[in-house]
């Protein structure tokens, strides 16, 4: 979910990540229920398939029909970097950040309430900011935990927020688990006032 837009994320055999409006243009079915085959995404409802660029590639009810070019899934810009998937806000013009080093994804944790800022998030984790990447992502260090942590959050407003972490590919299993537990603990820090 980006800025109130429901997004379907998928990765084809070619490894490319794609972020589309979560809605089949035919009858509005969420594409996140679809099935990835090769480099196409097939809608669960009527089997309409879409190629990697979002163009409709097949309508099974009419096997001989070449789908009109007007049938397209709406695409957002998406990229892989630092073990995270980045999706651009509709109005965003800059490229996804390129993050140096070899990172592996660690955790994605849901919290009830988004932190007001990166600083608040880092404080909540007991982390020190090393370098800021965007307003919502930074490299941090936590005393007692070996290595750096890539930390980001996605504010989903009334749906709370997601916290994402990556660790260096060289991180030990112990370090990875320590970071995972730090992420989990954020649930207690950023609780809804009327906690569910």
């Amino acid at each position: 979910m980006i800025a109130d837009n429901d997004i379907a994320l998928w990765r084809g055999e070619d490894g490319q990540i794609r972020a589309w409006e979560n809605r089949c243009p035919h009858r509005g079915m969420r594409l996140s229920y679809g099935i990835v085959r090769g480099n196409t995404l097939t809608c669960l409802y009527h089997g309409w398939s879409y190629d990697g660029a979002g163009a409709c590639a097949g309508i099974p009810a009419h096997p001989d029909l070449t789908p009109p070019k007007t049938i397209r899934a709406k695409a957002y810009r998406a990229a892989d970097s630092g073990g995270f998937i980045w999706v651009a806000n509709p109005g965003e013009t800059t490229a996804a950040p390129s993050i140096d080093g070899d990172w592996v994804p660690n955790r994605s944790v849901h919290i009830d309430q988004a932190p007001a800022s990166l600083n608040e998030l880092a404080d909540g984790m007991g982390a020190g900011l090393m370098s800021k990447i965007t307003d919502h992502a930074a490299i941090v260090r936590v005393p007692g935990v070996e290595g750096e942590i890539l930390l980001a959050f996605l504010d989903m407003k009334e749906h709370g927020a997601m916290i994402h972490t990556s660790v260096p590919a060289s991180a030990s299993e112990d370090a990875a688990i320590a970071v995972s537990k730090l992420s989990t603990r954020l649930r207690q820090v950023f609780k809804a006032s009327s906690a569910a």
Partner: protein
């Protein structure tokens, strides 16, 4: 072997899954759970005085309670000894612990589903909130299992703990419980549906 079965019941689905995983031939007797409430009829109360499904009839005996039936089937009919790992006490302890957890999932996520799908009169907000609490615990657990190289709830093999937890987690959407918040659960569902002889039940997004 005969399963007293309701097609929309997640607890019956657990049994159907394990029967298929273990390739056990069986017959099914359809119970009119909804709208007929046959499980509360005098005839059915003779079979299970608790008035609940599933019930398994095997060798002339009736076994009730979904988790108990899973344990029975795996310990009696699984030649590999992996689904109910009696030879590994520490793993067995973990499996049993998550079986109890599965019961809590039933009383929350399944309750929300009964409310939304079949119109049961209950506090659905409380049921959903209870399910979210449990799903966070499960998501954290599965994520930490992955970081240690384990794909399943109790270790490196699927066990009856996975079978017991799977249905009402995977069917949570039917009860208005969004699985979007739980990426490790989604990855576990994707692994589960790819198990050999897995059969899908309506209401499950396979995240493929």
């Amino acid at each position: 072997m005969k399963l007293f079965d309701y097609v929309l019941s997640g607890n019956c689905y657990k049994i159907r899954l394990l029967l298929d995983f273990l390739e056990l031939s069986h017959e099914k007797q359809a119970v009119d759970f909804f709208p007929g409430r046959e499980h509360k009829s005098d005839a059915f109360l003779q079979i299970n005085p608790l008035g609940q499904i599933p019930v398994l009839e095997d060798d002339g005996a009736y076994i009730r309670d979904a988790q108990a039936i899973l344990v029975y089937l795996a310990s009696r009919y699984d030649p590999t000894g992996t689904w109910w790992p009696v030879n590994d006490p520490s793993e067995l302890g973990r499996v049993a612990q998550w079986l109890a957890f599965a019961d809590s999932i039933t009383s929350t996520a399944s309750a929300a589903r009964l409310h939304d799908v079949l119109g049961y009169d209950l506090d659905v907000a409380q049921a959903r909130a209870g399910a979210h609490k449990l799903f966070r615990i499960l998501d954290d657990h599965l994520a930490n299992q992955e970081l240690q190289g384990f794909n399943w709830i109790a270790g490196s093999n699927p066990t009856v703990a996975d079978v017991a937890c799977f249905p009402y987690v995977a069917l949570a959407g039917d009860g208005g419980i969004e699985l979007f918040y739980y990426p490790a659960i989604q990855r576990w569902i994707r692994r589960f549906v790819n198990l050999p002889r897995f059969k899908l039940m309506p209401g499950i997004n396979i995240f493929n």
